[in-house]
Symmetry: D2
Subunit: 298 residues, 4 copies
Amino acid sequence: MKDSAVLLISCPDRKGLVARVATMLYERGANILHADQHQDHGLGLFFMRVEWALNGHAEGETDADSSPETASFDLEEFRSAFAPLAAELEMRWKLSHSARRPKVALFCSQYLHCMADLLHRWRTGELLCEIPLIISNHKDVANLAEFYGIPFEYVPVTAATRVEVEAHHLELLESHGIELVVLARYMQILSPNFITHFPASIINVHHSFLPAFTGAKPYHAAHARGVKLIGATSHYVTEVLDDGPIIEQDVARISHRDQVEDLVARGRDLERMVLSRAVRWHLDRRILCYGNKTVVFD
Amino acid sequence: MKDSAVLLISCPDRKGLVARVATMLYERGANILHADQHQDHGLGLFFMRVEWALNGHAEGETDADSSPETASFDLEEFRSAFAPLAAELEMRWKLSHSARRPKVALFCSQYLHCMADLLHRWRTGELLCEIPLIISNHKDVANLAEFYGIPFEYVPVTAATRVEVEAHHLELLESHGIELVVLARYMQILSPNFITHFPASIINVHHSFLPAFTGAKPYHAAHARGVKLIGATSHYVTEVLDDGPIIEQDVARISHRDQVEDLVARGRDLERMVLSRAVRWHLDRRILCYGNKTVVFD
Amino acid sequence: MKDSAVLLISCPDRKGLVARVATMLYERGANILHADQHQDHGLGLFFMRVEWALNGHAEGETDADSSPETASFDLEEFRSAFAPLAAELEMRWKLSHSARRPKVALFCSQYLHCMADLLHRWRTGELLCEIPLIISNHKDVANLAEFYGIPFEYVPVTAATRVEVEAHHLELLESHGIELVVLARYMQILSPNFITHFPASIINVHHSFLPAFTGAKPYHAAHARGVKLIGATSHYVTEVLDDGPIIEQDVARISHRDQVEDLVARGRDLERMVLSRAVRWHLDRRILCYGNKTVVFD
Amino acid sequence: MKDSAVLLISCPDRKGLVARVATMLYERGANILHADQHQDHGLGLFFMRVEWALNGHAEGETDADSSPETASFDLEEFRSAFAPLAAELEMRWKLSHSARRPKVALFCSQYLHCMADLLHRWRTGELLCEIPLIISNHKDVANLAEFYGIPFEYVPVTAATRVEVEAHHLELLESHGIELVVLARYMQILSPNFITHFPASIINVHHSFLPAFTGAKPYHAAHARGVKLIGATSHYVTEVLDDGPIIEQDVARISHRDQVEDLVARGRDLERMVLSRAVRWHLDRRILCYGNKTVVFD
């Protein structure tokens, strides 16, 4: 079982950032497992992800290898010590214990391929999170939720009830302590109010290669345009529809032989892939947002 | 050396089309090398490409195998006999002798990667055409044209001279009997008048995954949007900019590490690939246009 | 609901094959939905797949469009009439009613990602078959089988019991009328005797880009070799391990950052994709085997 | 014009490596442009690539931004200061000035697509090197070499002359101060003696997805096996044929329609891509070899 800490940083770029962070960890005997940096030279921004072992030795070493000085890393002491440095360097930062599993709510409508895929990956340990809640405006997901032992809330939506439905959603999410909302082909548009409750914490999958074919029925639009590749995009949700920071995209080749229903079928595989990757990377604390873009440390 | 005929057909779909065309060829002893059909069930259209040997035997057979009945196929007799059937069935059709090499003009501006790629492929026999003319509004291509022994016309363009320049272009193209115009990163917009002279016979490469990022500086736009894949598109030119029938598209994965100049560099490879494929397929008579789409028989 | 017939043909290549088959269908008023041919010029072989509507009109037309002459196609009359032609032309051929769903048995061991994927696709109508039987040498699949309402046979295997286990397998398959066996990461090697009962009717997924990394632990071997792409392969099972006709392959890019466990995780997605495509194409009667290769009509 | 230093390091993994290297650079006021690390936890190895500006300010800044403290970085002082640390930490390391262009020799035989591609990329500034020498056992490349103004040595080879030819090659390479040899479809096998003169400095392209289809005629072998994807591989040459550390691989989808000559044609594009990427990454000092593998920092 991996027991590590992950520190995510974004700040104005300046000299010595890597040296100062790395030295601070070194002084505490941290065993760095992964470190990655990125600079946006145009904007003058610096991004960093560093992950280190909490039990004092690297993955792959057995306990027999551990020597007296590889005592456990004191995460809270580091947090306290790091805060002043972060303030001085104008950092936005997040320090996480990788063993703690974020609480995730899954939303869907009638199409269940992404939902079924996410649940299977979660069951087999590919997605390290808790899933205390599934919400849908359709009942189709009920059996699947039951199979995986996850509470399911059926919340139908009409134009007339949209406001109260969202209020109910927010109550549900708050009461379960939800940290990440995943829209697994949830076909309702969220209000700006809802979105502000989860900044960079709502992941959606759109069934096109954004920014092409925003809005409804993108496979129909792709077929009508005669494109030779179709795509899918996972992104964080912002107030502008289909415009949030892109996390992942993938495409598949099609030909004149493919009708709209073939595009839909092939697209399902793309949607599963790009959505599950985005969720996994988010859970693994690999993603940093800035402006309308993402840095994904792989 | 391949010596074959290619028949391209598009017409309203009805029963018996394959049977009637195939029987007509069979009665004349044609040895079919490739046959492909497609139906657009939505529009009720039928498309066919059939290629057969003109010397009476299939590829791969040696002359020693040829028996008395495998005499040469009389292409002109077939043309005459096919015309009434085509009229009856409301066909648009084109019958070509594959040994005849279409005359192609290449246009470019200052970027030469597509031009150099097309010329190398042509020299090595991958593109079966004649190239009697290269036109550019920059002089950079002169050495390359000379190396390949192709006449080069330097025709600078300004806003004031656009109309007369196009008239000069058309004279040059007509005097050389040009059948296909390839815009190998030619950065000038063609007038509707010019385009009507070459229906479905001008191939352009656009450096984005259309319909995303039409217009100028698509790599800058892709970088600003934060996409995770960039693309390139080859298409026939119509009066609407970047909107003609798409022939081929391809994409490459990028990451946050890639700056605009990296996108430009990776994009060059995509542009070369999608443009050269489109030209090859056109020359091999594999493409049928309908509406704003293409059928590409592979 | 699609109601169509599919005719698959392979035979020595000769002139007039398309004409004779197409004419025979035309004379019976068949409305051809898809037709595809292929010739292997080296081996002198011809392959054809033709699909036509059984209710007399093409997909997409409504009943209101149907005119008196679009009566139902008599499939058994055609079968009788076609047999002498097929004999004369030395055809191997198979005529199927696409509404008839083949009976498929799924085998697995402890890894369930392919199994879960196939079952979800089957439930949502992507795989048109019956699945009356799941067999495993592990009990892990029991819950999944129950969720989908499919009888599950737990048949443990040891070196000592291999022969009797296979006899038991064959009894189970025969009693359920199984026509296709899908090895969804079933980690036992089948005997030649078992394989001869299902010629070109056992589909396996191997977790490498064959012919690289045959045998056990291909992801470990790929990691050790330092490849930059990993792959997966679906193929028909023959007596030689990992050597049968390849149906589909796909790859994913990896880097030096990926450890063996990352390869395993990424590979799961590849395995799902290539196995499910192979099963769908088989069920759609799109695959013809010859020698050690496949023709897949898309 | 980029003026930067690149430091490549590989050493036994231990705590504080990043901190110590980064601090050393920070103390000298280095402005880090890119930094990347990798750890092989299984082997206990650490790899690092760090690139910093030599003129004291980051790319994108104009001279007007430079303040008094952004004086030029003293690369030779750093080299001297770094050497004792490197020795203490058992590092293999290489410090390069990116403005210095390595001297590269290109080898080819009769196929010129890779050669033409590399030369075009070099001319347009994509490959930052000098190319003082082209060697071939065929004369076909002479025109191309002349066009690009590069001295060409025609050195025919026979079984009888192999030893003396290689001695001649080595003389030529030494007299030109060649640091990297690129085999752009050079179809002769190099002797172990030759290879030892250029450790991790001979890049070859093999026209298959290694380790599948080593040796001669891999496209024929791929066609015979019936694979659904073909590939190409660029790698460093070692004494074992087609077995050196892989730098890059790519694949293209094929179908039953593709004959061997189609595979050859499609493969040419793959070969160009994987070879040119490998050469560019080598020239950009992005590659570290260890065991039989590469780390490629992108």
